[in-house]
Structures are given as structure tokens and as C-alpha cells.
């Protein structure tokens, strides 16, 4: 049972919703490992990927997910588009809406922009990242990765390290992991932690040694280049020294701790390259694999609801 028209954030999902998505995603993990990966769950449906902010990974993951399910997939980038000519988000969405897509995957640089757009269109909308607000499919793919590695998705200690303030990935993960009854810690310098974070059901730490202690899962976040040059942290090398994850710092975590990163990585800034490549510890590539499966599950569930609505109308 997944009674949602859109997937705009983790905020509105119940435990049951999350489990439904992950359970279905498991079947797609199996499918994706076969030679013949096609199904026809989305046959006849049109999926438009609308990325107002450029993205390679997320967009190709959604594109592949849609294609494997048999949808007609169109990518709509904003480079050189009318959006750059002053058209508003809503106008662009209305224009696309007139082409009768069934599924709209949207990324936008402004928090709340995807929800705003969802109010104005007739199709199912999936938030592929809005500003610093939410990135629900990233949190879901992280959850699937954790569940497969740890055998469960609750009663774990998860440390999220780095630029929490500017990260939609962190927000969605905090919401999801909290909803599934995990202990969540955020670690970073005060300049990279958002105000009031301690009231969001997480523990706050300003150093890796105490923050990583006893962690089952360590999630590293990307630090944007423009934030390293004295604006929020003094330099990349000081940041790496204090907050970059290496084998030595990781010793504070549990011996079987896994290391995650939403990508793209800055080797030598937030994570040591050797550690990132250690397949016994790092699950970064697995996250990418789970991403396609989770997105297939989300597209499939929303399409089922879409068809249900259409049948009810007919």
C-alpha cells in the first residue's frame, strides 16, 4: 500500500510507505542484475526528467529506471532553455504539463520549488532534489543499502558527517533514519551545521572521534568547493585534517561499520581515496546500484496509483 500521488519528500512518508518502497526495490535489484532488464510496468507512460539544476548521476539514474520499466523518457535540461530567458518555474511546468506526461522528475535549486510545481500539474511528481530541502530518493537508496548490508533498518547508530547546513541529502536522511528508529549523529564544524539541528532528533558532535564512536554506518557528505576557501571552513587541508574520513578516524566506529557517500566524492577533502575504494568498507558503488532500483520502485508505485486513479475516473 503506497497511497501517495507524488513523492515530494521523506517528511510525508510513514514507516510502512518506506518499507513498501524498499521491498519493491529489492525485486528490481534482482531484475537489474539479469541480462534482460526490461519490464513493462510503465509501458505507454511518459516520464519527463526536468532538471533545473544540472546533475549527471541522479538524472541518468532516473532515466535508466524509467527506460527499464518501459516508459518513454525525455530529458529536459535548462541549459539554453526558456527558463534562462525569464520564464518562471510554473510557466515551464505548465508548458510541459500540456504535453501530458505521466511522471515528472524534478530537480530545482530553490527549496520548496518542486512542491510548488506539483500543485500546478496533473501528473505524478518526484522530487529529485529541491534546494537544501529534500532529496527523498537518495535517502531511500541509502536506506536500501543499509538494510541489505546490516540486515535491518532500525536500532542502528548512523553518523552523518560534513556540510549538513547545505545538504538536502542530510535532511532527508535525518528524517528517514529517525522515522525508522535509528540513532542519528551529525558531525561537522559549527559553520556547516544548520541552526536548531539539535532539536531535529539528532545528536550533534564537532569532532570525528566522539561523533563516530560506536557507529554502524558512516555517511560522508560532499563539501562544495566554494565553501572551503575561508568562507565556512578555513581550507580544504584543515577540513580534511579535522573532518576527512580516513582509516584512523574510522577506528572509532564499530569494526563492521560501512562507509557511504552520495557522490560525487572529493577525494582528499572529505574522504581518503584508499578508504573510498575499499570494497569491504565502502558501499559507494552499491549505493549507485540501489539508486536505480529504488527509483524504479518509486516510479512503479506512483504509476500504479496513477492508473488506479484513471481507472476510477473511467
Amino acid at each position: 500500500m503506497f497511497a501517495h500521488r507524488h513523492l515530494l519528500g521523506i517528511e510525508s512518508l510513514s514507516r510502512g510507505d518506506i518499507e513498501s518502497i524498499l521491498d519493491l526495490a529489492e525485486t528490481y535489484v534482482a531484475l537489474n542484475r539479469r541480462t534482460d532488464k526490461r519490464t513493462d510496468a510503465l509501458r505507454g507512460l511518459t516520464q519527463i526528467n526536468m532538471f533545473f539544476e544540472s546533475s549527471t548521476r541522479t538524472q541518468s539514474s532516473f532515466e535508466l529506471a524509467g527506460k527499464r520499466l518501459g516508459a518513454d523518457v525525455m530529458n529536459f535540461g535548462t541549459a539554453g532553455s526558456s527558463l534562462r530567458k525569464g520564464e518562471t518555474v510554473i510557466d515551464t511546468a505548465m508548458t510541459l504539463n500540456a504535453m501530458h506526461p505521466d511522471l515528472l522528475v524534478v530537480r530545482h535549486g530553490a527549496s520548496g520549488a518542486v512542491a510548488l510545481l506539483a500543485e500546478k500539474v496533473n501528473c505524478a511528481v518526484i522530487n529529485a532534489g529541491d534546494g537544501r530541502h529534500e532529496h527523498p530518493t537518495q535517502a531511500l537508496l541509502d536506506a536500501l543499502t543499509i538494510r541489505r548490508r546490516k540486515g535491518r533498518l532500525s536500532r542502528l547508530t548512523v553518523a552523518i558527517c560534513g556540510d549538513i547546513a547545505h545538504s538536502r541529502v542530510a535532511r532527508s536522511n535525518i528524517l528517514l533514519l529517525g522515522r525508522m528508529d535509528n540513532r542519528v549523529r551529525v558531525i561537522g564544524p559549527a559553520t556547516l551545521l544548520p541552526a536548531g539541528i539539535e532539536r531535529m532528533g539528532v545528536e550533534v558532535s564537532h569532532d570525528m572521534a566522539s561523533g563516530l564512536e560506536g557507529a554502524d554506518v558512516v555517511m560522508m557528505l560532499r563539501l562544495q568547493r566554494e565553501r572551503m576557501d575561508g568562507a565556512l571552513v578555513p581550507s580544504a587541508r584543515e577540513y580534511y585534517h579535522r573532518f576527512g574520513l580516513d582509516a584512523q578516524k574510522l577506528r572509532a566506529a564499530k569494526p563492521d561499520a560501512i562507509v557511504m557517500h552520495p557522490g560525487p566524492m572529493n577525494r582528499g577533502v572529505e574522504i581518503d581515496g584508499t578508504l573510498a575504494d575499499d570494497i569491504n568498507i565502502s558501499v559507494i558503488h552499491e549505493q549507485v546500484e540501489m539508486g536505480v532500483a529504488v527509483r524504479m520502485a518509486v516510479l512503479d508505485l506512483l504509476a500504479r496509483n496513477l492508473r488506479g486513479t484513471q481507472e476510477a475516473r473511467a
Binding site: A110, G112, A115, D130, G131, P194, A195
Partner: protein, 427 residues
Amino acid sequence: MTTALLNARLVDPERGTVAPGGLLIAADGSIAARLGPDDRPEAAEQIDCNGLCLAPGIVDIGVKIGEPGERHKESFRSAGAAAAAGGVTTMVIRPDTEPPIDTPESLEFLRRRAAEAGPVRILPMAALTRGRQGREMTEMGFLLDGGAVALSDVAAVADTRIFSRCLAYAAGLGALVIGHPQDPSLSAGACITSGQFASQLGLPAVGTIAERIGLERDLALTEATGARYHADQISSAAGIAVLERTRASGLSVTAGTSIHHLTLNVLDIGAYRTFFKLTPPLRAEEDRQALVAALADGLIDVIGSFHTPQDEESKRLPFEEAAPGAVGLETLLPAAMQLYHAGALGLPGLWRALSLNPSRLLGLDTGRLTPGAPADLVLFDPDHPFVLDRATLRSKSRNTPYDLQRMQGRVEATWVAGRRIYAREAA
């Protein structure tokens, strides 16, 4: 023609009383006499107020009208109609137009256009610096001669040296400078007050410390230059603390706040509702409560609507990109009644902040029910309940945060200089 307003409850901010009685209005548009409950004077026109409240008309400092530049958002005519229906008898209008009111010539244009607002009184403010750019001072002397009642950039003048010179020069002219206390480098790019809620929404945020720092600076410069300074909007407990210390030190400054900050808080933004995007942004509930207390204690002198019309296109955008501001001329009185019904302030206390104090600040003789004062009056029912439907607003723009909210308090009639300019049509 003389008019007798009978059977009213007179809300007198000067005496601090609410008493049954009436008013006799002279032919010249001034108040001729206060009447007792049983007085029945000779008058050409007798109006029965049905026991409703009769108070001085509201003097609203900081109204934005879309002229020049944005007449599609609000014109003098539409603003005048909204003001009359809201019991606002004097609008002190902002210079943050396009282009800004920063020369005697643009002020002259404004005066001609303002005639359209009808009988509601219009008093213009003029910019403190050219183009509101914060670089060169305007011709303050000419602007004052041209009728500007105060000088304001409606934003912080970022450069402290330039602001200091502006204050010093204005002090020499005896001009009132209305500042916008805000540290501009802290508040740059922010659209919400920082805290847990802002972090959940993932919006660029600023703390109330920006107001505190801005106010500390402005008041230090005021002390140094001897200027007459009024802070347009104090919105936080941090700002109130500064104000309290300054008053205790004996420096005479005044401060206002907006009706929105007195009745709403940051959580009202909910799911990125852009009608709640204001400048300064809505604060935490503790700040709102501190503001109400400061108003009751007389630390805050003035309540304004900070009427800022924005069309649908400016608001139908992601929160960060949407234009700030809310219309308020027609909702100022009912929203203020929330404070009355909550027991925070009595009607005379509210009318000090809505009418008497702003009048005194600008050297006007309105805001009083004394014989000789202009008969600028509002008759209202403080209890009448209704649900606000923004489609009924008279403003060209209907960006009110109170849409669909249950409110109490309705304007029955408004007079300016003894002439009735608004009467509610019986439903």
C-alpha cells in the same frame, strides 16, 4: 454643515479611556465638542453610532503604493479605497518606488497623483540617499520643503560613514529619519528567521542578531549626531532589549513594529507560503510575545501595516525567489483586535500606537478626540466575527497572510476632516 455622532463608545488614546458619549463635528471639519451620553446638540446631521466604538482614524506610517512604477500592483485610488475601508485616515507613504522618491521633482509628481487617493490624507516620506543606493545623500532640505514628513531608505544604509553623515545633516534640519535596523551583510540573501523550522525547510536564514546589531549601530550614531531617529520595525526580543537599554540611558528614540509581527510567527509560513514572506522575516513565537509585551509597556510606540502590495506573479514563485511583503491597510484594524481580544492591550493603548503616537511623531494634530483636532475618525465594531476572504479586498494586490483566517473587528464608517469617506454597506 455640522454633524453629531451620538451613542458611541469613545476610544480616547490621550485620556486612556473608553466611555459612552459622542462627538460634535464643526462645519470646518474639526471636532467641535465632546458629548456626554445624554447630550443632544443642534446639528444638521445626527448619526446614531449604535453603541459602537468611535476612535481617532489610524495614521499608518510606511504604506507602499505602486506609484510611480508599479501601478498594476496598487494605485493611489485603490490604496485610498482600501485605507478608507480599513479606518486608515492618514497614509504616510514609502519612497521605495520605481524610481524612488528622492528628488523634489518626484515628490511634486507624487503630490499631484496623490489627489486621486481621495479624501484619505497622504503624507510622503522621501529617500535618505539618492536612488536608495546608500552612497550620496538626497537634497533633504528641498525634500522637506516639498512636504516630505520623514526621510528613509526603507532599508539599512550599509555604509556606516554615509549613514552617519546623513543623520548629522538631517539633525541640522530637524528632520525625522526613519531607519530600518538590520545588519545588511548578515541578512543578505536570507528569507526566513534562522532556527529549527528554517533548517527543516532548507531556506537561507538570518538570526535576530542582525536586527540587534543594526539597531545598536543606528542608536549609537543617533546619540553621536543628535538626529531624530525612529526605527521602522522592531521585530524581535533581541531588538527590544537594545531599545530598553537605550531608553534607560535617556536617549529619546522611537520605534515601530508591524501588525504582522505582532500577530504571526515563523511557523505560519508552513509549506513555503509566500504571502508570509516579509521584511524583516516573521520571527519565533517568543519574539512575537516579547513584541506584544513591549507594545503594552510603551517600549514600542507605533503599529503600522507596512502595506506592501505584490501581484500574483511576484508571489507565485519558490519562497526564496518570491517578493516580500503583505498588504495590510484593510486588515490592520481587525488584526489589532486580536491583541485586544487576547487581553494584551486595551483599546486606548492600541489607539495610542495606531494613531496618537504616529501623529505626535510626525507633528500632526490628529490622533486625538479633543475639540479643535481634525475630525479624522473611525467607527468600528470590535467584536464582529468574520472569515477573511482576500477576494473582497479593495487593494489591487491581495497578498494578505490573513486569507481565510477567522478575525474579529469591522470598520463601520470612516471620516476625514468631518466628511464621511466610507460607510459599510449593509449586507
